[in-house]
Amino acid sequence: MKKTMIAFFMMILLTSSASAAEEIPLLTSDQIINQAKEMDGKSIQYEGEIIGDVLSRGEFAWLSITDGANALAVYLPTSEIPEDLVIGRYATRGDLVTITGDFHRACAEHGGDMDIHGETLVLIKSGFSVPVQTSTKFSVLTGSVFLCALTGLFYIKKLHAKIL
């Protein structure tokens, strides 16, 4: 009985350590760049906001994903990219996603680019618009300064025909 119990616990221990070894680490961009040599060729997970553009390359595409510190390049099959993707730009926050793939510190296939060859893209949170508003006070102030500047320009123009 005792031997069976030990064997059972040993099996649980071995299984859990094997799954821990297979677990893909979730890294930040700073960790990836700083430990590029150690992480080269390994599977990683990276989480961040999609920004910029989807740069299509046939059946694959480049995505830029930022975690706030750096934007990293992800090369992945277009089939993995959702059609209703929200890309982060001015006044828009892009989709927050997790990428799983192989990291290359100087990818031989892509001219030495530091990139992640993504296999899966998982949407964590959809992107959204960020409203940007101008205060009424500032608009009135702008209008007043604009009128003063315009008057000044006419005055200068009248003063010297050569200017403008």
């Binding site: 740069l55 031989a108 030495g112 300064v145």
Partner: protein, 490 residues
Amino acid sequence: MMYFIGLIIITLGLLQLLPFLVSFLYKEWHIMTIFLFSASLTVLVGVCLVALGQRYRTTKLSFGEGTVVASGAWLLGMLLCALPYYLSGDCLTFLDSCFDVMSGFTTTGLCLIQDLDHLSNGMNMWRQTLTYIGGQGMVVLALTFLTKDQSNAYKMYAGEGKDEKLFPNAVNTARQIWKISLFYLVIGTCVMFSAGLFAGLPLDRAFLHGIWVYMSAWSTGGFAPMSQNILYYHSAIFEFFTIVFFVIGSLNFALHHAILSGKLSELKRNIETITFTTSFVFLTFITTMGLMKSNVYPTVLAFIRKGVYQVISGHTTTGFMTIYAKQFYTEWGEIALFGMTAAMLLGGSACSTAGGFKALRVGVIFETFKVEVRKLLLPESRVVESRIHHIKDMVLSDPMIKSSFLIVIAYIFTFLAGTLIGMFHGYPFALASFESASVTGNVGLSIGVTSASMPGLMKVTYILIMWLGRLEFMSIFTLVAFLMKGGIKK
């Protein structure tokens, strides 16, 4: 002087209508209002200065006063042009905003902007406009459009670190500089737009990125619309065309004028092109040795797109990058960093958009050493005369040698001061010297030191160094002396 500074400030105000227009087209209403406010305020300040100084507008300026106009306009221009960055909240503090404006004006390309990847199109247009105007020179712009005053023009023109005369008078020279720049602007935008489409950008984004990257490349600026800089495009063709334009931009305007006038042989004979090519080959060799030792890049293509690209970007003082800043110190190794630091300090051509020592001065100093060695080998009675070719054949004169040595020594001291300040703030020598060389040479490549969290004193020091490096010292020394003498009344 106030009158002329006012004219330059009015020009800077009117220029803000360009990002205003882009904001309008992209319905960025808040940014549009900010630009309208900032443009109006800048014009208003310019109008006041013109009105106050109009009594003296026919007064002949001395050379010293001409340089004070140039450096004074740069200083006041920096404060006024920083308003959009600050009001939009894209920069955390007004000091950061001033840093980014000076970085643009001096075509350095380092930036403290927060969240570049979410920056509005209007603000991106403003960054590139600042760089483009700074590269050509804002005094050159004002001379082209706002004045016909021949007598004072050259003194202000020279005060902006330019001394080549393409035509007998400075106003025509300034106009020719703008003609050359606008000619390349049309071609460059078309080429970079096509390269952008090829890289996968949608039509309107390809146009905007095309014009921005072109403006930055031609001005040897280094600002790019995305935080990944040129790496963002993942395109060898895009990278190739940026090299073409920043190399062209780093050439002397006098050389451009000669080539466009049909004197193609000038390219092969000119001391600047010879010096630049020689130093580029030598420094590429050193960097290659370093990179081979570090064993970073797996293929020849990777080595060219990362190693050689960074060297030529640094040597032309552009600052475009195809790697992450941190990779310089985590992967490149000290030998490659030495090659890069030297390339950034040597810089491009005189009277161009580039910074650094300048190839003409390096060539003159090298020729001087050659002459001195020859003198030692020949009998004392023999007169040794050396000639250099720069647009025309000229004798290597003592004033030319003296001025070359003076400016290069001033650059070296500035570089050392920048390095020391960095080290005082706790950065290791390799990092502090790399960043200092980048700032001194108005390059813009970063090893990761420049950031919004950098100490305030370092930001102020870097602003001063960028300004000194771009206007080549004398204008700023004259401004300081002038202010100390209390001469602002005039």
